[in-house]
């Protein structure tokens, strides 16, 4: 759900990192947050349990500055991945302008990935959104782990729309910015297509 203010020339849009529990969504935001120079840093909000698991969401606002004449603000959210937090996931997903699906590349997590993608489709449906239309990119994370599925196989199983996909190691930041760039551009493109003025 974007907010477009024609009078103050501001656009705010919401990007949600989705995926199974422990796949690296929070790590993506933490890496991005860590790279913001001190002077420009505001705050990252994390609602987590004592075990560091995201309880409600993580929230990181980014001020991109002027893009095509609009002061552009991108707000990054993560959802809690654990199955039993589905009601919370729906709340966070509400109003998303774009989605990054983060998959865990490890062989053992194959089923978690496909279940999470099916859950994304269901939740979007409940919210009246269509997974075949929403701006989406895929991130195949944890490429540094020893026992991983090939990118081709992941892509075949998960990337049914053939959207851009990125390999990542969120802990070192590899692929993190490429993912962020791609989804931001897709979201702004789709907004501009809708609201040309």
């Amino acid at each position: 759900m974007s907010l477009i203010n024609y009078s103050s020339k501001e656009i705010t849009c919401k990007i949600v990192y989705y995926g199974p529990g422990r796949c690296g969504k929070t790590t993506n935001l933490q890496y991005i947050y860590g790279k913001i120079p001190d002077a420009k840093r505001s705050s990252m909000v994390s609602l987590a349990t004592e075990k560091d698991r995201t309880l409600f969401f993580d929230f990181l606002p980014l001020e991109l500055g002027d893009i095509a004449g609009y002061k552009t603000r991108v707000q990054l959210y993560t959802v809690p991945g654990q199955v039993f937090y589905n009601s919370t996931r729906k709340l966070v997903l509400q109003g998303a302008d774009g989605i990054v699906f983060v998959a865990d590349s490890q062989v053992d997590l194959w089923q978690e990935n496909t279940e999470s993608l099916a859950n994304l489709r269901d939740n979007l449906g409940i919210l009246g959104m269509d997974i075949s239309k929403v701006p989406l990119v895929m991130q195949y994370n944890k490429r540094d782990m020893p026992n991983i599925v090939s990118v081709a196989e992941l892509d075949h199983a998960l990337n049914f729309r053939k959207v851009p996909h990125y390999e990542a190691v969120a802990t070192t930041g590899a692929g993190v910015f490429d993912t962020l760039k791609a989804i931001s551009a897709l979201v702004l493109q789709s907004l501009s297509a809708k609201y040309r003025r």
Binding site: N5, Y6, P37, K40, L64, G128, V163, K181, S190, Y195
Partner: protein, 183 residues
């Protein structure tokens, strides 16, 4: 896709700001935030410079939507009002037009009855104005627009919308903006 978006024009902005200013004065609150349920800040009035309002808005959106989920579970249609009381500061939340949240931060210099009364007034004023900011079913709007522009047929269901590959012009802009932000 029926996904609500908000578009604020000059006149909507002016009307909302005027109402917010009046509400702040009538309620004698310290600051007032108007946001969407999804956590986007729409307007603010009063003393907010010490707070990170973007984060506050995201958190309030979360609090409020989870409260609505709770309402459903106990078979209430919705909780319209919420009140949080602290030692020095209190926060009064109320839902406006089902899509917006008015959050009011106040201290001992006013009382919750006064806030409640003034908030009712503010809601009556702002509801019709805010209703004009809601743009629903944007895909239909986008299809209308693209048909107007080049008579392109609407994409069939299941086929990715052409916008995903067609307009690469934002890549460079985003790239530039990000490298500026992170340097």
């Amino acid at each position: 896709m029926t996904n609500i978006q908000f578009v604020l024009s000059d006149d909507i902005n002016r009307a909302v700001e005027a109402s917010m200013g009046r509400y702040l004065k009538d309620s004698r609150a310290s600051c007032v935030l108007l946001l969407s349920k999804s956590g986007h800040l729409i307007s603010q009035a009063g003393f907010t410079s010490n707070f990170n309002v973007q984060s506050i808005a995201a958190l309030i959106g979360g609090i409020f939507t989870s409260t609505q989920a709770l309402a459903k579970i106990v078979d209430e249609e919705k909780f319209k009002v919420m009140f949080q009381e602290g030692k020095n500061w209190n926060v009064y939340f109320c839902l406006i037009s089902d899509q917006f949240i008015l959050a009011t931060v106040f201290d001992k210099s006013t009382v919750v009855g006064m806030i409640r009364h003034a908030a009712g007034e503010a809601e009556r004023e702002m509801s019709p104005v805010l209703a004009r900011a809601i743009v629903a079913d944007t895909d239909q709007a986008a299809r209308d627009l693209s048909q107007e522009m080049d008579q392109a047929p609407a994409p069939a269901a299941g086929v990715p919308a052409p916008q995903e590959e067609a307009l690469p012009d934002f890549n460079q802009a985003v790239e530039d903006a990000l490298s500026k932000l992170f340097s």
